[in-house]
């Protein structure tokens, strides 16, 4: 079985829509900026990939993640022709940190916060009249995990349309503990670079609308892509260090579910956090899966521009992959100046965006999280007449 992506919506530090984000990605524009929400004197790290929507420098407010999720879901539902009524549509939200930043503000600074807002169903009910909603806290693989669960619901006949989403803001506790973990404070996310110092968090939300391919796009007028298969598993190995063997198993299972071979993969959206442990496990796993393929699929790691958007990152990569395949331009992994040996055989795009001569038809999206949670999706381009704005964008040389 395969599933159609009929709606997409996203926000991140580099743009307030799918189009803006893609424009930033292929322009190599990063959302890295001085830390905005917290007292900078309390940290060694001083930068992050935040959405710049706080009332003032250093003044934080609750429910920002909920706000972005609302925007992303509204955009995706609108794009899919669902409007604002999701009363019969399951909505699955992947997240690492839920509204725990609001809990921090409530606990320490006495900012009012209602416990009902810890899960996203409260807003989804109020705004979209959605009742079959699920907050899935599956660390940084969360939104691809919800993609897997969404395809399961469709396959089992438990729903005809599903919205899957991801969202995260940066909690001060995680920011501080990451700062405590690295020998040096990261000054940017540099996936697979010898000078990498670790991961920096990003903020954002993303949502896509899914339907069974056999049912067609429904109310929507777009068919953005076809989901061929999603694999999920757990390393059961370590709370923070990933396991290359199990990552490879997830990639192989995703290929099997999608009915593709490694040679069919044209593009890999890397998880690529810029931490030595993740980079090493991911490059080892991909080295195994794509062994003997020369050249390898095109590869890129967009966290170098979005930061690690945690529970949103998997679907952020998927939405980017859809545009990459549709427009034939692969964004670069910025700040990747001196690649580690482990990726020497990989066709990593860096420096500037690249336009391959050959068409990009099938993408693999990697997403891994704390606790060894792995999710890998395989997505295929769907040829449809290009939308007018796409033609205009290409003409502008984006």
């Amino acid at each position: 079985m395969s599933w159609l992506v009929t709606g997409m919506g996203a926000v991140a530090s580099i743009g307030g829509s799918v189009e803006e984000i893609f424009g930033s990605l292929i322009a190599g524009r990063s959302g890295l900026a001085p830390l905005r929400g917290y007292d900078r004197d309390s940290f060694r790290a001083q930068v992050a990939y935040e959405i710049d929507d706080r009332p003032a420098q250093g003044v934080d407010e609750p429910l920002r993640a909920t706000r972005w999720l609302e925007r992303a879901v509204a955009a995706a539902a609108g794009d899919a022709g669902l409007g604002d009524d999701l009363s019969r549509v399951p909505v699955l939200v992947g997240t690492t940190l839920r509204e725990l930043r609001s809990v921090e503000l409530s606990w320490r600074d006495k900012v009012p916060f209602d416990a009902a807002d810890l899960h996203f169903g409260t807003m989804l009910r109020r705004r979209f009249n959605a009742a079959d909603t699920h907050t899935v806290a599956n660390a940084c693989s969360a939104s691809l995990y919800t993609l897997a669960l969404g395809t399961d619901l469709l396959e089992l006949g438990a729903a005809d349309t599903v919205v899957v989403a991801g969202v995260d803001t940066i909690t001060e506790s995680t920011y501080g503990l990451l700062d405590r973990c690295y020998p040096e404070a990261p000054d940017r996310v540099r996936p697979f670079d010898r000078a990498r110092r670790g991961m920096l968090q990003g903020e954002g939300a993303v949502a896509v609308v899914l339907r069974r391919e056999s049912d067609g796009p429904g109310a929507g007028t777009h068919v953005h892509a076809r989901v061929r298969g999603v694999a999920v598993n757990c390393d059961a190995y370590h709370p923070s260090a990933p396991d290359a063997k199990n990552i490879a198993a997830a990639v192989e299972e995703a290929h099997r579910r999608a009915g593709v071979r490694p040679a069919d993969i044209d593009l890999v959206m890397l998880h690529g956090t810029g931490t030595p442990l993740n980079d090493e496990a991911e490059s080892t796993a991909l080295g195994t899966v794509f062994a003997g393929l020369d050249p390898s699929p095109y590869m890129t790691a967009i966290k170098s521009m979005t930061g690690h958007t945690a529970g949103a990152s998997g679907l952020h990569s998927l939405v980017a992959a859809v545009d990459v395949m549709r427009r034939g331009t692969v964004p670069p992994t910025v700040y990747l100046d001196d690649p580690v040996d482990a990726v020497a055989g990989f066709r990593l795009v860096r420096g500037a965006a690249e336009r391959p001569m050959e068409p990009l038809r099938i993408a693999q999206i990697d997403s891994f999280g704390f606790g060894g949670l792995n999710a890998v999706a395989v997505v295929e381009r769907v040829d449809e007449p290009p939308a007018r704005d796409a033609v205009r964008d290409e003409g502008a040389g984006l």
Partner: protein
């Protein structure tokens, strides 16, 4: 979501980690007097690595071990008896890691990031309980954490069943856990117990309950007795609608109704909860154990499984409920959580549990 094709799963093991409760059978009655001074269930855990685990994780580990043992998924030495890839974890907790987040941000404010411990980093992510359960027992299948408000525990049980129905797993360890600590009391606006004497302190559930949800084929192949079958499930904006939907899919008498946790301290079923259960006896676990949030639904299912198993085998022990010997295998329990419109919750969930003998045919592709 509809459940027409997803009803094939059974419960094969139960475990509890609740102060004052000897085991799952105790869920059929209130906690004994003086339960606050009973041994902490976390003390059942031994070995290294406990220092940096939060209370929710430790409670979950204690309950999970008992459930896995009861389902014969681990042997006497703690080794897994099935392939790790075929077994997953679904955890339900709304407040499990609030303590780590609140304490860390306080430390940063007082003494900068330098005073924090990097060992706490994984616990800032809300999946910490489920991942430690997987690591502890080598469960390499799908691993989910539901933080879904008052309905979370029932939703988690249903997701376990869906993962099995979708062919991703043969079985899942399902754990509902909530800790009682200052951070949770702050978030839930529950008064601090220091202001009260032993008996007058407001309760807040502090514990974990675990289930093993399994495909009937897997249970049969392993020669393990099911204690309950999992029937229709629904999550709807109005509690009565969720109840009505599952009752329509499984009509007939209800032997027991485990009711939602009530808002504002209401300790008896309100008319707004709906009449779906008819005249069935009511079992209000939150009234007995304190508000249990994400743990409630799992606890309700465990209580239902105990009740159904006892009905099937005759009365085994004293308790608060009337149980008839040699009960029919069409006994069902209705469990529901979240009051939806009636109480300001975003939704209500309802689930039917059936007697083990009522289990439906085996799943395709489930005998890994």
């Amino acid at each position: 979501m509809s459940t027409a094709r997803t009803t094939q799963a059974v419960i094969t093991g139960l475990g509890t980690a609740v102060r004052g409760l000897d085991g799952p059978a105790g869920l059929l009655g209130p906690l004994p007097a003086g339960h606050r001074s009973a041994a902490d269930p976390v003390s059942r855990l031994t070995g290294r690595g406990l220092r940096y685990k939060d209370r929710a994780t430790k409670l979950a580990m204690a309950a999970a071990r008992d459930a896995l043992k009861a389902a014969r998924l681990i042997d006497d030495s703690g080794e897994l008896t099935v392939p790790g890839e075929s077994t997953g974890v679904v955890a339900s907790t709304n407040y499990g890691n609030c303590d780590t987040v609140c304490e860390t941000v306080q430390t940063i404010a007082e003494s900068t990031y330098l005073a924090t411990s990097p060992m706490l980093l994984p616990a800032t992510s809300s999946n910490v309980v489920a991942s430690w359960l997987a690591i502890t027992h080598g469960l390499r299948g799908a691993n989910l954490t539901l933080c879904n408000g008052p309905t979370s525990g029932l939703d988690a049980v249903n997701w376990a069943r869906l993962l099995i129905a979708a062919g991703r797993l043969d079985r899942a360890l399902v754990v509902g856990v909530e800790p009682d600590n200052p951070a949770v009391r702050h978030v839930t606006e529950t008064p601090d117990p220091d202001a009260y004497d032993e008996d007058g302190a407001p309760e807040l559930f502090d514990g974990a309950v675990a289930l093993v949800v399994e495909s009937p084929a897997s249970a049969e192949a392993r020669g393990v007795r099911a204690v309950a079958g999992i029937g229709p499930y629904a999550r709807r904006g109005v509690h009565a609608d969720a109840v009505a939907e599952v009752r329509a899919l499984r009509p007939g008498p209800v032997g027991l109704w485990c009711v939602p946790e009530h808002p504002a301290g209401l300790r008896a079923p309100a008319p707004g909860l709906g009449a779906g259960a008819g005249t069935a006896p009511v079992h209000d676990l939150s009234a007995w154990y304190g508000p249990a949030s994400g743990a409630l639904g799992v606890m309700q299912c465990a209580a239902a499984a105990v009740w159904l198993a006892e009905r099937a085998t005759g009365p085994a022990r004293g308790g608060v409920l009337d149980r008839g010997a040699g009960a029919a295998c069409d006994d069902v329990v209705l469990v529901s959580a979240g009051t939806g419109d009636a109480g300001g919750d975003d939704a209500g969930s309802a689930l039917i549990l059936t007697a083990p003998g009522a289990a439906v045919p085996r799943l395709v592709d489930s005998a890994r």
